[in-house]
Each structure stands twice: as structure tokens, then as C-alpha cells.
Symmetry: C2
Subunit: 196 residues, 2 copies
DNA sequence: CGGGCCTTTGACTGGTTTCAACTTCTGTGG
DNA sequence: CCACAGAAGTTGAAACCAGTCAAAGGCCCG
């Protein structure tokens, strides 16, 4: 699999926010490395500094941390066309509190911190692209935060599963429970109520 | 109070992320309107489209929505040097679900959606500024989201109050309870435990 | 086919909310 | 400047939602 095959999906994504010509795109893609990883493989481990930003071409990633009881808490998923990174660690270059791991076998485009900065310096159109990406991601996270206030735990599950039905089928139940911040047992009980 | 006095604090903020000359800054500030508002005055009402982005020069704003029980749920505060906006409504120009209101008498710089777009088109350095702002705000919101998973309600309060002691003194307790997503009664009980 | 991981189920527990009553604070008009 | 009304904060009792623990069943993968 070569860079070009990987690359088209990124170009399509960039074009949704800011037009970029083929010649410029050929320059841009040089800053990225294609990566293949297997299910459960780690891209970032808590305690390390996050030095890389990942764009999901195919597959699914999750971000999680280990709480004081030793339980994995999944805070975020990324599927096709999403970026994944511990932004806090990436920005400040301090130790990350998170792990990033593949939920499925995945294909990614990776850009290092130094390449990210060079890319932005040399391609102003990418400033615009990332400004749009972050503005949208921020807006989406604000809406997600609203759900925490708005919904009971049970409604939160129903809202999520009806909003992303295809996604529900793609991930194991214990990861969904973790993401929704409840125990696998409780999720199981909610689901039982639905069928009966 | 004239635009210049308002404006310096914005220039200082922009300079933290990207250098901007005095001449260019004079152009940039023209896109903004200075605004004074009184305590409890509204800047955005649920059901309206969010057409303006606010930068807090002095004072404090909050964003809240009314839940199905008729209770105000505060999801976000903005103090000096923060931006406030319903990004979701602003981006998509759909009806907002939120209200934005002054917690204290406040001085703001307001930029309309159309001016925001013109500003970004004509001043590429502002693309960089807003890219940085959103990246940072997104990172901060991701960390805040982590706290929801990490802390019990009681620990969440202790963590927040030790992280922002000056802020705690600035806002009434029932707004803090609302922001932390618990009842005023429960917050009162937690605080009682602390002193005894 | 076997072992370990995932899911389910039930009993028990405790952290939070709800509700109602009371006290304290705040600000506004006389 | 005081009085008073409404808002904000406190307290206690009762109910409930969701977590914990323990054990059993199902399913995937080696």
C-alpha cells in the first residue's frame, strides 16, 4: 500500500474545508507517514510525551486512561476521517496521562510535532484547515459535554445508540460502557430493559 | 471608553500566539465592536442563531441551557481573555440551545459572523491565532472531560476549588453547583464537611 | 476442545437527589 | 438609612439511582 492510496482520503477531507491543488497536496502529503497497526496495538502510552498526530484512514482508535482502581476509562473514539492525539500533551510536550490504542486493525497517516509545525509554516492553507478542524471538534465536544448535564445515564445510552447505531455494532460493549462512564453490569441491565 | 483601551488586551492575547504589528492590529480591531453589559443581561437567547463571537476584556460570562425540569444548567464560564460563543450554532447557523449571560458587569469585544469570516480572509495571521486558540480550548475541554470520568462528584468539587480558588469567590454557589452538575443542597453539604 | 474474556443476573450498599422547612444574605423602594 | 421581600444558602429525612461484589453462562480464539 503506497502513500497515494492512503492520501486520497486526506485530500478529500482537506477539500471539505479549504481547496488545495494537486501540486500543493503532493507537497503536503510528504510530511506524513503511513502506518498499519493491529488490533490492541498501542500508539501512545501514558507517561510518554505525545509526539504524533494521527489521521484515521481506515479503522478505529480509542483514547483511555487507567483510573486509581486500575480500570481502563475510554474517553474518546476516532474512526475514519477523524484525528486522534492527546492535544494537551502534544501542545505542551509534557507527559501524557492517556493511552491511544487500536480498537480494530487500522490504517493511519501520522505526522510528527516537528513536521506539523513545518507544514503549518509552509502551507498557510493548512492553518485554515486545522483552524476549521479544531473549531468543529471543539463545537462537537461542547455539545457532547451538554449531554452529560442534559441526560440521565440511561437516556445518555439511548441517545448515543440511536445517534450512532452503526458504531455501536462495531465496538465491544465493555468499551461502550467505559466511554459512557458506567459499569458493564449497568449497561447490561439497561439493554435488558430494552428488549423486554 | 474607546476602542483602543479595549483593544490592548486583545492585542496582548494575540501576541501570545502570533506576532502582529501595530499597523496590522489597527486594521484588525476595526472588525470588532466594544460592548458594555450589566449583570444578568443576555447576549444570546436559546432559539436564536448565534451570530456573534465575544472576547471578554473584563468581567465574566456564562453559558447555560434550561433542562426539561425548567432548571438552568450552566455548562461554561468565560473570564478575562477567554472567548465565548455557541460554536455549534455559530458554525452551522442553526438555532442555539444555549443562553449566554453576564455573571458580572462586563466589557467585551464582539465580532459578527460576517466580520469574523472577512477578518480571517484578509488577515492570515488570524487564521493562525484562531487555530491556536481552538487547539488550546479543545485540549482544555478534553482534560475537563477526563475529570468527569476520573473524579467522584465530591472530588470534582475539591479539585475545581483548589485549581481555581479566586474564581470560586467570584461566582455564587448555586452557579458553581450547576456547573459541577449537582444540586445546591449537595454542594452545601460537601462544604460543611470541609470546615468541620 | 479448552481457557479466558465478555456479558448477564441478583442482592446489597451508599452516594445523590428530592422535598420541605428554616435561616441568612442582598438589594431596592420608601 | 431602614424595612422588607425575594434570592441564596443550610439542614434533615426519605427515596432512588447506580456501583460493588459474587457467581454463572456464553462466546471467541488459540
Amino acid at each position: 500500500m503506497n502513500k497515494m492510496m492512503y492520501g486520497n482520503i486526506l485530500k478529500n477531507h482537506i477539500d471539505k474545508f479549504t481547496a488545495v491543488g494537486d501540486e500543493e497536496y503532493d507537497e503536503i502529503i510528504k510530511y506524513f507517514n503511513p502506518i498499519h497497526i493491529k488490533k490492541k496495538e498501542n500508539l501512545l502510552t501514558a507517561g510518554d510525551v505525545c509526539k504524533t498526530h494521527y489521521f484515521v484512514v481506515k479503522g478505529c482508535l480509542r483514547k483511555f486512561f487507567i483510573n486509581e482502581k486500575g480500570i481502563e476509562q475510554t474517553t474518546e473514539f476516532a474512526i475514519e476521517n477523524w484525528w486522534m492525539c492527546d492535544n494537551f500533551s502534544f501542545l505542551s510536550q509534557t507527559e501524557s496521562q492517556f493511552n491511544i490504542q487500536a480498537v480494530e486493525k487500522s490504517q493511519l497517516l501520522a505526522i510528527s510535532k516537528s513536521n506539523y509545525e513545518k507544514l503549518l509554516d509552509e502551507h498557510p492553507t493548512m492553518e485554515k484547515y486545522f483552524r476549521c478542524i479544531y473549531q468543529k471538534a471543539y463545537a462537537a465536544l461542547q455539545m457532547r459535554a451538554k449531554f452529560v448535564y442534559e441526560f440521565s445515564r440511561e437516556d445518555h445510552y439511548h441517545h448515543f445508540s440511536s445517534s450512532f447505531p452503526e458504531f455501536i455494532q462495531r465496538i465491544p460493549q465493555y468499551l461502550l460502557a467505559s466511554y459512557l462512564n458506567f459499569t458493564p453490569e449497568y449497561l447490561s441491565k439497561i439493554r435488558k430493559k430494552d428488549v423486554s
